[in-house]
């Protein structure tokens, strides 16, 4: 229960941040320079959207899914635990790709993206080190 509550709180923080970035994207603030140079470079790059959809919006969806599955898992919905694990693993892999893009393609790191990466790493760490009681079906 505590494990999934902690995971839900982390996912909630990620959801807040991803929602913020999505709003910034939609209001056009990533289409101009004026804030942080590195963030402008990353958030304004072609990697920041997929088929016109901002990556931050996909991130918000990922965090929301992780949050929802963690809440359901905390209430002993057995299948939610499996869905939670797969959601976190998917987010972890996407995060690794985005870190690669920032380091080797764009040569710039955005602090928001790094914060999000830290949250996903935390979720992944929790998932991997989850006590067996939290993995067990009720």
């Amino acid at each position: 229960m505590i494990f999934y509550c902690a995971a839900a709180l982390i996912a909630l923080a990620g959801l807040l941040e991803a929602t913020y970035l999505t709003v910034i994207f939609l209001s056009g603030e990533t289409a101009v320079c004026g804030g942080s140079a590195d963030c402008s470079k990353v958030l304004g790059s072609s990697y920041a959207k997929i088929a016109g959809i901002p990556v931050s919006a996909l991130g918000a969806l990922g965090y929301f899914s992780a949050f929802a599955f963690a809440v359901f898992a905390a209430y002993n919905y057995a299948r939610a635990r499996t869905f939670f694990s797969w959601t976190v693993i998917t987010m972890f892999l996407v995060t690794l790709w985005l870190l690669f893009v920032q380091a080797f393609r764009l040569h710039a790191f955005c602090r928001y993206c790094l914060f999000s990466a830290a949250l996903v790493f935390l979720l992944m760490g929790l998932t991997v080190s989850r006590p067996s009681s939290a993995q067990r079906n009720p």
Partner: protein, 220 residues
């Protein structure tokens, strides 16, 4: 029987995320009101600056740009195409941001090229090669090479870059921009009406220009 609490919690968070996001979006849009130059300022601006296209064009596109700003670079070619396609009057004004290490030097390079009548050639080259010189530790050497490439007298170009005439022009453009409320680049005005930031992407900007053209057409 399982509790309905998780459904309530998840639905509540979903509603808060969507509602909060929409509210925040409205706040951000309101925090960036569209610029509109007064007639006096607009007239002053038209007197100087680098102008491309006929004076009697139906639509004047005025850009406050930073050569090191990636969004400005991405918009450079679409603007060139739109200028040719619709015979627009394009005005470029320097607005180098302090956040970009070489933006001021690049603005000086463009202005120095302008003193030899090659502003637009240097403007296009600086945007085209943005990724190269932006990460260079020796931009002056690169800019000198660019000067040679566009057919400038390089020794004069190097002198002019540091000269007071060039520096004053960059300062003047920045002061004008700051006066009308420019804070970010690119800031683009179409017949003195600022284009919202969300329409400044290469895929959305042509539609903004076409809409401005439509509204600028004289009604018979």
């Amino acid at each position: 029987m399982k509790s309905s609490a998780p459904f309530v919690i998840v639905a509540l968070v979903a509603a808060l995320a969507i509602g909060g996001g929409a509210y925040f979006y409205r706040i951000r849009r309101a925090a960036n009101p569209p610029l509109e130059t007064s007639k006096e300022v607009a007239e002053g601006i038209k007197e100087s600056g680098h102008v491309l296209g006929p004076p009697g064009a139906i639509l004047t596109l005025e850009e406050y740009g930073d050569f090191q700003c990636p969004p400005c670079g991405k918009l450079s070619e679409p603007i060139n195409q739109l200028q040719k396609q619709y015979n627009l009057r394009v005005i470029f004004r320097e607005f180098p941001l302090a956040m970009h290490a070489h933006a001021r030097e690049a603005a000086s390079a463009a202005e120095a090229a302008g003193l030899q009548g090659k502003f637009w050639e240097m403007h296009d080259l600086l945007f085209r090669e943005q990724a190269v010189w932006s990460n260079s530790n020796d931009v002056r050497t690169l800019f000198s090479a660019y000067a040679g490439m566009v057919g400038l007298e390089v020794a004069r170009f190097n002198r002019d870059m540091d000269g007071s005439e060039v520096q004053q022009q960059v300062d003047l453009d920045q002061q004008r921009g700051a006066f009308i409320g420019v804070r970010t680049t690119p800031t683009i005005l179409l017949n003195n009406q600022a284009v919202p930031a969300d329409q400044l992407r290469p895929d959305t900007f042509p539609a903004a220009v076409e809409a401005a053209l439509k509204s600028a057409q004289p009604t018979s």
